[in-house]
Amino acid sequence: MTPVSRKLYTDDVSLLVVLIDTNPYFWSTNNSGLPYSKFLSHLVAFLNSILLLNQLNQVVGIATGVNSCGYIYDSSLAPPNKRAETLLQKLEEFVIKDEELSAEDSVDGIKSSLLSGSLSMALCYIQRVLRSGSLHPQPRILCLHGSPDGPGQYVAVMNSIFSAQRSMLPIDSCVIGAQHSAFLQQASHITGGIYSKPQQLDGLFQYLSTLFATDLHSRSFIQLHKSVGVDFRASCFCHKSTIDMGYICSVCLSIFCKPHKKCSTCGSTFGQPQATVSPTNLKRKAPDS
């Protein structure tokens, strides 16, 4: 590992990791006026313009599939005069591989993409770049996401978001689907990135270059569009209704509107009088070691 002090610190060199939603179910049902081919042409133009902003800039593309995620592009490795070709070639390979992994023949509605996976890959890649090489660029993540959130990935996604927050990596999100994404809203809010859901999808390139091309240093001078903010009010797990006061499981932090004997999420039994707790009960609220 290169000692930190020997690195070249700059405020205008960016490392941009783009997470590209490659969910076939989403793209084939998407009729918002942005077919996948159009989307790709906007994306390629955007990535090119990022690389033009500074010749030391680095762009990494990660495809977010339904069954897997994969690195599809790295500007530091690809031949400079065949950028789009390399990206599209890799993307095609990725789609074929992802299809091989799919088990079911048909699904009800749109399956969600593996956002948690691609976020983790992006975080790992950024750490690798920061810890090696002679340059210390300003890293950021951009999520181009269209498919609906996968509630099952909640814990993994939140963990990625918090680890991005810890390493001070902003997660920008551009939602190209019909719905807002609660995940990405949180991600951008917590990490201080930009959240945007373009209205004019045929002008995607304009959104990308206006909002998301700004490097981190310039963001302090430029007034970018701010999202309204995230509503952190809690709603109970049992009825999904917003509550002001409630009961929280001390083990898994589930919220309930009335006291329960047992947590429905993690199965912990709650503080009954000491006598009723059996000695074999493993769910101790605070291990005292």
Partner: protein, 601 residues
């Protein structure tokens, strides 16, 4: 209130510089009367306490006069000089009692049941503490002035809610023992007069204590030699002579002198008690300590550890080893003693008792150590634990139950509902058209799109200029909109945007409201007539605040109206809640009293 009075001899002064008219001061419940000793004097006074709004008094000090200054509401003041401080304090406490609850002392005195629960006679210390607290906290002073002087709350009521902060004041004043100075003794530089060949050391009990603590051998020598063999002065002269020899760094000379005088040798040789103690300490050092770890952390690369002390003349001859004293040893020993602190509670004046006390202390310490047999056991345990190779150990069983979350979707659902609502979007997303899709078809269309763009290349232009224009105007519109989202951003406070005077006024009203509400709610349930009267008083004061809030609102500039009303709203709500409770309670009470024949109107 008891029918008490205080009669003291005092001088009345019209001003501080006035020599004063001697006479007798009589303090009664409602008034104080001053009768001059000289019946012809015109300095008679007869003043009611309700005109007195405050009192000041001089600090208690031996060479100061015992003064009491009573301030009248018209700005005049009466100054009395007492013969003694206890006299003054008695009068002062009486005045404090008399003027503190003006409502009780004045009009409400006819209302017998309204006696406050604690008409305690305050001790002087208590008064002092309160006054100090008021002086420190200007906010509190404002509140005190407004409510206690204004007659809404009594002195006792006001302080009852602040017992805690009063108590904190006391505890923070806990005694702190003064430690040893961190100056090293070698800093006691001899002063020479420059003419004769004499040098002079000055010795204070403090320095003696330090010498005894740092050099047990000197202490032992003192106990052995003084006063049997030599006088104290002789002893110290010898000691300083040895020190002087050290400071000249002439080891050879020191060795020669020591050979002649065996008492002097004690001071010049290395301290054997210290040496044995050091050996004992080394045995107790954690055997797993890795000294290599902090290599390079110290100043060993600097000559003399960065401190200028010249030891370059050190001789390597082993015969003089005994007389060599390393600076590091001195420094370490001194540091250890300073850190130990002043462990002896003996008057420093008596040199002998200090020496004895220190010796006793050391004996106790070493006895304690000797009895600690299980220390050895602990050390060997520690060694075996530290020397353990982690990868050769079996997995340790931690008393941890793995977190098993059945369905993380619940977390998502509990948040998403709100998050989506914020953006003003109904749950239309949930009813997006359900399409049964064949995985093969889906992937096929995706692949088709990719190969399409591969064949055709990028569209030119990527984006139509009209569309770009639309996007631009949409984005800029949103930026200019967000400027006016007041109060949505947690990082900027509305208060900071207001003019300073308004800001302070609002903050002050808020603290007043809090104070009043605290008293209001603590009075419920109303069980005594006293509480009833208190609630009524507090309620009246609160209704006045409504008026004030309204005034603030109308006094600010047009563009601040909205933020101010946002701030005032929770205040009015809190007050409204209190009033609503008051009304309900009042209704209940009046219906109850209907049953009684007397309450029937």
């Amino acid at each position: 209130m008891s029918e008490r009075q205080v009669i003291k001899r005092a001088k009345y002064k019209s001003s501080i510089k006035d020599p004063g008219t001697p006479g007798v001061l009589t303090m009664k419940r409602e008034r104080f009367v001053f009768m001059p000793s000289d019946p012809r004097s015109l300095m008679k006074l007869n003043v009611e306490f309700r005109f007195i709004i405050g009192h000041k008094f001089s600090k208690e000090a031996p060479n100061k006069k015992a003064l009491l200054n009573l301030t009248q509401d018209k700005g005049e003041s009466y100054i009395f000089e007492f013969d003694s401080f206890p006299d003054r304090d008695a009068c002062r406490d009486f005045v404090a009692m008399a003027i503190a609850p003006p409502a009780n002392a004045g009009k409400a005195s006819s209302d017998k049941p309204s006696v406050p629960p604690s008409s305690e006679q305050l001790s002087t210390a208590e008064m002092d503490r309160r006054i100090k607290l008021l002086q420190v906290d200007s906010e509190l002073q404002k509140l005190h002035k407004e409510f206690v002087m204004g007659g809404v709350l009594t002195e006792a009521e006001f302080w009852a809610t602040r017992k805690k902060s009063l108590d904190e004041k006391i505890s923070s004043k806990s005694k702190q023992r003064v430690g040893l100075k961190s100056d090293m003794i070698f800093n006691v530089k001899p002063s020479s007069d420059g003419q004769s060949n004499r040098v002079k050391y000055s010795l204070t009990p403090e320095i003696i204590h330090q010498i005894f603590a740092e050099k047990p051998a000197v202490r032992r020598a003192y106990l052995n030699l003084v006063p049997k063999k030599m006088t104290e002065t002789d002893f110290w002269m010898k000691y300083w002579r040895a020190e002087y020899l050290h400071s000249t760094k002439n080891i050879v000379a020191a060795a020669a002198e020591a050979a002649e005088d065996e008492e002097l040798a004690v001071f010049l040789k290395q301290d054997d008690i210290l040496a044995s103690e050091a050996r004992r300490k080394i045995r107790r050092v954690d055997p797993t300590l890795d000294m290599e770890a902090d290599e390079g952390d110290d100043y060993t690369h600097l000559p003399d550890h960065g401190l200028s002390r010249d030891v370059s003349k050190d001789l390597t001859d082993s015969q003089y080893d005994l007389y060599k004293r390393s600076f590091l040893q001195d420094l370490n020993r001194h540091a250890a003693v300073v850190l130990e602190g002043r462990s002896v509670d003996v008057e420093l004046g008596d040199t002998r008792s200090v020496a004895e006390a220190l010796t006793r202390l050391k004996e106790v310490e070493s006895a304690n150590e000797a009895s600690n047999t299980h220390v050895e056991q602990g050390r060997s345990d520690l060694i075996s634990r530290m020397a353990e190779l982690e990868d050769l150990q079996g997995p340790r069983d931690h008393p941890v139950a793995p977190l098993s979350i059945k369905d993380p979707r619940d977390y998502f659902d509990s948040q998403q509902a709100n998050a989506i609502k914020t953006l003003g979007e109904s749950q239309s997303g949930s009813k997006h058209k359900k399409s049964i899709l064949n995985a093969h078809e889906a992937y096929g269309s995706l692949r088709k799109s990719i190969s399409e763009i591969k064949d055709l290349g990028l569209t030119d232009p990527i984006i139509k200029s009209e569309v770009a224009m639309k996007v631009f105007s949409e984005l800029t519109l949103r930026i200019s909109n967000t400027k006016y989202h007041h109060g949505k951003d947690p990082h900027e406070s509305i208060l900071d945007g207001l003019p300073n005077a308004t800001k302070e006024e609002i903050l002050h009203q808020w603290t007043s409201i809090q104070e009043l509400l605290k008293h209001f709610w603590s009075s419920y349930p109303i069980t005594t007539t006293y509480l009833h009267i208190k609630v009524n008083k507090v309620k009246d004061a609160m209704s006045k605040i409504y008026q004030k809030l309204q005034e603030i609102k109308s006094s600010v500039r047009q563009d601040f109206r909205h933020p101010v009303s946002l701030l005032v709203q929770p205040m009015t709500q809190a007050l409204d809640a209190a009033f609503a409770h008051y009304e309900v309670d009042f209704q209940k009470r009046s219906t109850k009293s209907v049953e009684r024949p007397n309450g029937f109107v």
